[in-house]
């Protein structure tokens, strides 16, 4: 099958506006007869469900959480981008578009990304109207800050809790539609299969997590907004329950998985401290506005710090290597995530790591504290102030900006980051890969749409900071509610879909059998222990850097682990009951398949780009070496059956507006 991204023709800046006005509309009286299932209530799902409800469709929204407000989006810290140019610093829709294409290392579609930049400004308007309390300046207007990979200040934020505030805005809009009866909410329901009728997505099988009952839900169309699959790695910054099941089950029903190997490793996370660790905590990228990243210049100092004989404060200025500033003078500490992460890994590989495990670098705020302190003293008319007073004033400014992050750091590590620099290390954070979708956000399965992190659409091989919130809300508020019309306009005469049809009964039975299979293994090892082992394989061989030999080894290991899982896993409790271990088992089973596909994709992509660094393809200075002649495509994988080789389809990426260049942040 030839993959057609369906990007409309015409000049880049006019594509979306023109196209939007040609999308077939569904008349209001017909909308009432159309049922839409939205799976997920994060930024993408809640915004889509609320907007579709407002438009008059009958919406059923599903989440495995006990409330739509708990979705993983709630944890986003740093901010959301928008091309408002309120700073008058030269920002524009084109610049946001360009930064995103370049940041993604030229592996995303121009048309989609430009549309994202265009609607970004409406998102901020919408959020403010909902009552999202963004940070403001004394004049009462909205404040901005900078994020990595760009040279303008276009990130809107609400302290360190931007995701929380945006999700609460979307949740409130969703709640309004629930109260009006246009959205029916199904909390504690997990989608575990997709149902197709005559080749079209027409419903889902969901498990009621409280009773264990399997339910069949039918609709004219299904929207997945189920988030990313970073938890394949076991340890990541994602919430514990994030998983790939909805997307993976759709792949098993024919949807293509695009660019699965593109995972983002975030440079600033709190390092792992022990084997019992259940997750990793992000320290927002916004900290790199003011924090300087360094390691000691020589190994003896690093060793002394690791062994607790010295602290950061004992290392004089000229013995510190501010390696990002040194290697990338133009962007300094604000290089994109993939670049910063690899640089930290290189430093630690050279024996300069500063945590007992050897895996950490410093993120130091002392220069910022001094700078802010002086400026504050000046602004308040204080003269001849002592160094201590300056520090105190500076710490207050830093607290106002990042207080909650500093507090979180101290709670977890027991160290005070105002006094000692933070220790950070890269960790899995986000997945650029996801379900393949066309310009309409429809997968190759007619009637199945995907929005937010669960699709592959806009970030190419590397996502820029503060762009996931933007994309999730763009998809949900401003793109999908229009483009869904391209599918639905032909369906206005289709009567309600029958959830008792043979396809539904068959899918339900298959799910029941699958659950039965897991429950009846009765082996000796816990689900958790398999997940941990999978995560370690993925991190060791398909993490920050990859090579062909390692990937081949990893594929073999995963296949063995999967076989062992079905022979020796133990799922306690019963299937007809509230059973978190069974929920986990179903998710880990899908991760065990997804992991292998990520490895295959990483093997296929014989180039380094963005978050995908193949050791075989690098410049003499250790920078990523892209191969545009052979790999400027989206890889879209088709599932072919249990233990069969999946088939690779390629969507060639066409660049009409930007010139493909080596990404340089020097």
């Amino acid at each position: 099958m030839k993959l057609d991204g369906k990007v409309p023709a015409g000049p880049l800046a006019e594509k979306w506006t023109k196209y939007r006005s040609t999308i077939p509309l569904v008349a209001p009286n017909n909308k009432r007869r159309i049922d839409i299932i939205v799976v997920g209530s994060g930024l993408a799902g809640a915004s889509a469900a609320a907007t579709l409800g407002e438009l008059g469709y009958n919406v059923k929204c599903f989440t495995f959480h006990d409330s739509p407000r708990r979705a993983h989006s709630i944890a986003a810290q740093g901010g959301i981008n928008a091309a408002k140019n309120y700073r008058n610093d030269g920002d524009s829709v084109y610049r946001l578009f360009y930064d995103t294409i370049k940041g993604g290392d030229y592996r995303s579609r121009e048309g989609n990304v430009h549309r994202l930049a265009e609607v970004s400004t409406s998102i901020i308007d919408q959020a403010v109207a909902q009552g999202v309390p963004f940070a403001r300046e004394y004049g009462g207007l909205l404040d901005n800050r900078s994020f990595g990979g760009v040279q303008v200040s276009r990130t809107f934020y609400a302290r360190g809790q931007t995701g929380q505030q945006l999700l609460i805005g979307a949740y409130q809009s969703l709640s309004r539609q629930i109260s009006l009866g246009s959205v029916e909410m199904f909390n504690r329901h997990e989608m575990i299969d997709l149902v197709k009728v005559d080749g079209k997505a027409r419903g889902i099988i969901a498990r009621n997590l409280l009773t264990g009952e399997l339910e069949r839900h039918a609709a004219h169309t299904v929207v997945l907004a189920t988030g990313g699959y970073g938890n394949v790695f076991y340890l990541s910054t994602n919430a514990m329950m994030c998983n790939v099941t909805a997307a993976w089950r759709s792949v098993r029903r024919g949807a293509y998985m695009a660019n699965p190997c593109f995972t983002q490793i975030h440079p600033t996370c709190i390092p792992q401290s022990g084997e019992y660790q259940s997750k990793l905590t992000l320290m927002s990228e916004s900290l790199r506005n003011d924090g300087r990243v360094w390691v000691p210049k020589n190994q003896e100092d690093a060793k002394a710090i690791r062994e607790g004989r010295k602290t950061a404060l004992d290392i004089p200025e000229d013995q510190r290597d501010y390696f990002l500033e040194r290697r990338y003078p133009a962007f300094g500490n604000l290089v994109p995530r993939d670049v910063a992460s690899r640089a930290a890994k290189v430093a630690c590989d050279e024996g300069l790591g500063v945590a007992p495990t050897g895996l950490a670098v410093f993120l130091d705020f002392s220069a910022a504290i001094e700078r802010y302190g002086k400026s504050k003293a000046h602004a308040t008319g204080l003269h001849d102030v002592s160094a201590d007073k300056i520090r105190e004033l500076g710490e207050a400014v830093v607290e106002e900006k990042y207080g909650n992050l500093f507090e979180m750091y101290e709670k977890i590590t027991g160290e005070n980051p105002y006094k000692l620099p933070m220790k950070i290390y890269p960790a899995v954070h986000y997945t650029m890969g996801g379900l393949w979708v066309d310009y309409n956000l429809m997968t190759n399965v007619p009637g199945l749409f995907a929005a937010g992190e669960c699709n592959f659409s806009d970030h190419g091989a590397n996502r820029l900071g503060a762009s996931a919130l933007m994309q999730g809300l763009a998809d949900g508020y401003f793109v999908l509610p229009y483009t869904i019309g391209t599918f639905l306009a032909d369906d206005i005469r289709t009567p309600r879909i029958d959830p008792n049809g043979p396809e539904f009964m068959k899918a339900e039975q298959e799910t029941r059998d699958r659950i039965q299979q897991l429950m009846s293994v009765g082996g000796k090892q816990s689900v958790e222990s398999f997940h941990r082992r999978l995560g370690k394989i993925m991190w060791d061989y398909c993490g920050m850097s990859r090579n062909a030999d390692g990937l081949k080894t990893a594929r073999k290991m995963i296949r063995e682990l999967r076989a062992e899982f079905y022979q020796d896993v133990f799922v306690p409790g019963s299937a007809n009951d509230f059973n978190p271990e069974l929920e986990k088992a179903l998710r880990v089973a899908d991760f065990l398949e997804m992991g292998e596909l990520m490895i295959l994709d990483a093997l296929d992509r014989q180039e380094s780009c963005g978050g995908h660094f193949r050791e075989e393809y690098q410049t003499p200075e250790g920078e990523a070496l892209r191969d545009d002649a052979n790999f400027a495509y989206v890889s879209a994988w088709e599932y072919k059956g249990w233990e069969e080789e999946p088939e690779l389809h390629k969507e060639e990426l066409v660049f009409e507006n930007v010139e493909l260049k080596t990404r340089s942040y020097k």
């Binding site: 403001r136 207007l141 809009s173 905590t281 027991g414 009951d577």
Partner: protein, 250 residues
């Protein structure tokens, strides 16, 4: 360190529950409280027993999913700290720790330490929003909002909907939770327009759900992991009074 845990076990909503005792021999002080429970659960699974059901997700203190009453305190002994952010370094070798679910009529126990908090969603559905549909908004900078005012609104909006305030209150009152939303929106020009309807409808729903009255004990504020202030309750009371006097929609 060695710990004795007394944990509430209850098969489902109908069953009678009781405290079971477990001993953990080797708890690392860098672990989080929930990681300590993970370790216990792995041990139970190894013995082919059913693990303890408890809720959690972000483990960063922001999603509001975790709960637990630890030694009588919702979210445990540390101020402004959710259970998931509590670390074992705040306990001592040899301690006995009692772990129970939230107790409130409006929060029925579902299993072990898991309770149903859907009532909080219904309070929001009753009016905790601004009635603006997608695409209706004007430019974000069209209405300036005073920095301090926005900051106060933020303080109230920081509520994570965990329900600890209710678990802490002898009356199981949901005033702190409800007032946080009422304040968040009433403090902003965008939310002012509907303020009267909102407060009346939300308070009505709160009563319908079976939450108790407020008698100014302020245990809610003391146990709130996000430091939501009881000033919000005072503000809600003012809003409610003035709305009751002037609203035609009673």
């Amino acid at each position: 360190m060695k710990l004795t845990l007394k944990v509430w076990r209850q098969k489902d909503g109908q069953a009678k529950g009781k405290l079971e005792t477990y001993v953990l021999d080797d708890v690392n002080s860098h672990m989080s409280f929930l990681e300590m429970l993970d370790v216990l659960n792995e041990q139970l699974i190894a013995k082919r027993e059913e693990p303890i059901a408890f809720e959690h997700d972000c483990r960063e203190g922001i999603c509001g999913t975790c709960s637990l009453v630890i030694n009588g305190q919702p979210h445990g002994p540390m101020q402004k700290t959710t259970t998931c952010q509590l670390h074992m370094r705040h306990f001592n070798d040899g301690d006995t720790i009692v772990i129970e679910p939230y107790r409130a009529v409006a929060f029925p126990v579902l299993k072990d330490l898991v309770v149903d908090r859907a009532a909080l969603d219904r309070i929001i559905q009753a009016g905790g929003f601004v009635s603006v549909s997608t695409g209706q908004a004007q430019d974000a900078n069209a209405i300036p909002v005073e920095k301090d005012q926005a900051s106060h609104a933020f303080d109230a909006a920081a509520c994570i909907g965990c329900g600890a305030c209710i678990a802490a209150c002898p009356n199981s009152s949901a005033m702190l939770f409800t007032s946080a939303k009422v304040s968040h929106l009433a403090l902003l020009p965008q939310g002012k327009v509907e303020a009267k309807r909102r407060v009346l409808n939300m308070v009505k729903q709160m009563d319908l759900e079976g939450f108790g009255n407020c008698s100014n004990i302020t245990a809610c504020e003391a146990e709130c992991p996000k430091g939501i202030s009881v000033e919000n309750i005072a503000r809600m009371n003012r809003e409610y009074l003035s709305a009751s006097f002037t609203s035609e929609e009673l």
